[in-house]
């Protein structure tokens, strides 16, 4: 799967799509591939909550591992994708689409500067796999 060029990425494998002051967040193809088959998703935040950058906001468990999803930016949670609790397999098949996890109203746009673009993220992943 080629990495979408309209997204930003964190070093902990979350992707961020910025539209105005709204950030949509999910986990990358590299992340879902490392986890293998996802079997469980649990949201640890709910809409209305104010979160800081790197707040543990979603728990994801696969058949062989478990991981936390952090919020790559600070802000207010606008929406969480509750449907994922049942359709968790989408994280494996459509990580950049239907498997979005939450939307955040960005409170500190400067934080976006610390994220990587697709090209940098691809390199970052490539270096890790060696």
């Amino acid at each position: 799967m080629s990495t979408p060029t309209n997204l930003l990425f964190s070093t902990t494998d979350e992707w961020v799509k910025v539209e105005g002051n709204i950030a949509t967040i999910g986990i990358s193809d590299y992340a879902q591939n490392s986890l293998s088959d996802i079997v469980y998703v649990e949201f640890k935040v709910s809409p209305g909550e104010i979160v800081k950058k790197e707040t543990i906001s979603v728990g994801v468990e696969s058949v062989k591992a478990a991981a936390d999803v952090n919020t790559p930016v600070s802000g207010t949670i606008l929406e969480v994708n509750e449907a994922l609790v049942d359709s968790y397999a989408d994280i494996n098949t459509d990580p950049y689409g239907s498997a979005w996890m939450m939307k955040i109203e960005i409170s500190n746009p400067a934080e976006l500067n610390s994220l990587m673009d697709a090209e940098a993220y691809d390199k970052f992943c490539e270096n890790r796999s060696h």
Partner: protein
């Protein structure tokens, strides 16, 4: 004495830590504490020690020799010989689920059967492989509720009719959690409350409501409305059960309970001075990821053959143990097996028969005792095998009189509920013959006149 290390190994270990002798190793311990005088009587031979222990044991009065009307959470049921015979087989006789569980398919299958039996009895979707006892299982329900609401709801309502030990243990478990308010059973709260009174205490900050079924006083309530009210406020309802009663009455799932906990002792586990017992813990499917402890699942191996595995244990023991919500990582494996053998042996109709005998004998006893002058049946709620009687004299006095007649009297409720002086909680099981019940009645009558 068995000493696992050889002299050579000890010398090697001493050399490794850089000391010359054991004496030098223990130098940091002040000499006077190293071999203190223990002031023990002279050593006995095995034969002498056995005689002494037997003499001590004979000073105990056991439920086998007395007519037992004491319950209050532990019940004197008949345990068929097959239970112990199977339990003590070498293949099963271990207290724990093995650390490499999948190698012990027989044990895992037994635990799986246990879970299925508890699911059948309670009507819930999932049961875990057990907790230490009813009290710790109840406490785990509070831990679950706390994490279910991610610490955002901090009020737990306990009915005063939940076993006092369960409530105490729950409080102990919740000690380290911040801002938890445990309410409903404060001193002065009406012990004989109703589901409506619990309902009126609900608010949007309530995470959990715990009630008994039957409650500590033996009373049975239909909790359907309470469950609906809990859910209206978004709270979870936990029902603490006597599993034996479930063979006869509506299940907690019928009411809409979210969590069922209970003391499994009535299912084939002997009284044995109060333990070890068995904690029951079952939930609705949507809470399955939140339950602590162990869970056995059925699957197929690579060759398509049926097999059993520990499942959903990520949070407890394995990859996510840093995220564990409970420190429970074990279960009462042997006693869960005990309950499994007992329940399988009796079957659905056998279990119902035992429950019916308990029910009918208890109702006969209640009628006889309730009509004695000076005694009054306190509650008019339906009950299973236990009921409260108001007595003409303090319960301790009456019980000492009963003991002279070879009868172990009921529980003195003033020990747990100071306002309930002269209130006795009487339990009746299939073990109590009509003659025993009549003897209890006559002795109670006598004590009033005496």
């Amino acid at each position: 004495m068995f000493i696992p290390h050889t002299d050579r190994e000890r010398a090697e270990m001493l050399a490794a830590v850089g000391v010359n002798s054991l004496e030098e190793l223990f130098e940091a311990v002040p000499a006077k504490f190293r071999f203190p005088q223990l002031n023990l009587p002279p050593a006995l031979s095995e034969m002498e020690a056995m005689a002494q222990m037997q003499e001590l044991a004979q000073a105990n009065e056991s439920a086998r020799e007395l007519a037992c009307f004491l319950g209050a959470g532990a019940y004197n049921h008949y345990v068929p010989s097959a239970v112990d015979a199977l339990l003590r087989r070498g293949e099963f006789y271990t207290a724990y689920t093995p650390y490499q569980p999948e190698i012990s398919q027989g044990t895992l299958q037994a635990v799986f059967e246990f879970q299925s039996l508890i699911v059948n009895l309670t009507g819930m979707d999932v049961s875990n492989a057990s907790h230490y006892d009813g009290a710790t299982a109840t406490a785990e329900a509070a831990v679950l509720a706390y994490h279910h609401f991610r610490g955002k709801r901090n009020r737990i309502i306990l009915s005063p009719g939940v076993h006092p030990h369960f409530r105490q243990t729950l409080r102990t478990y919740m000690n380290g959690y911040e801002n938890i308010q445990i309410t409903g059973d404060e001193p002065g709260a009406l012990p004989f409350n109703t589901p409506d009174q619990i309902k009126s205490q609900l608010d949007l900050n309530t995470s959990l409501v715990v009630v008994g079924y039957p409650d500590f006083f033996g009373r049975l309530f239909d909790y359907t409305e309470l469950a609906a009210a809990c859910h209206e406020f978004g709270a979870l309802l936990c029902i603490a059960v006597n599993p034996m009663a479930l063979a006869l009455f509506k299940t907690p799932a019928d009411f809409g309970a979210d969590i069922v906990v209970g003391e499994g002792q009535p299912l084939g586990i002997p009284l044995s001075l109060g333990g070890p017992y068995l904690g029951i813990f079952a939930v609705k499917k949507d809470l399955v990821r939140k339950i602590a402890g162990r869970l056995v699942g059925e699957t197929v191996d690579a060759a398509g053959q049926r097999g059993y595995v520990l499942t959903l244990t990520a949070r407890e023991q394995h990859i996510r143990r840093d995220k564990a919500t409970s420190n429970i990582c074990t279960n009462q494996g042997l006693l869960a097996l005990c309950a499994t053998i007992y329940t399988s042996l009796l079957g659905k109709s056998g279990l119902r028969k035992v429950a019916e005998l308990c029910y009918h004998k208890a109702h006969y006893a209640a009628e006889e005792i309730g009509s004695l002058p000076g005694y009054k049946l306190v509650s008019n709620s339906p009950f299973f095998n236990e009921f409260v009687v108001q007595t003409p004299r303090p319960v301790a006095e009456i019980n000492s009189h009963l003991l002279d007649h070879g009868i172990l009297g009921g529980f003195d409720l003033s020990l747990e509920y100071p306002e309930l002086t002269n209130h006795m909680l009487i339990a009746v099981t299939e073990m109590n013959s009509r003659d025993e019940i009549d003897a209890l009645r006559d002795a109670l009558q006598e004590v009033n006149h005496g």
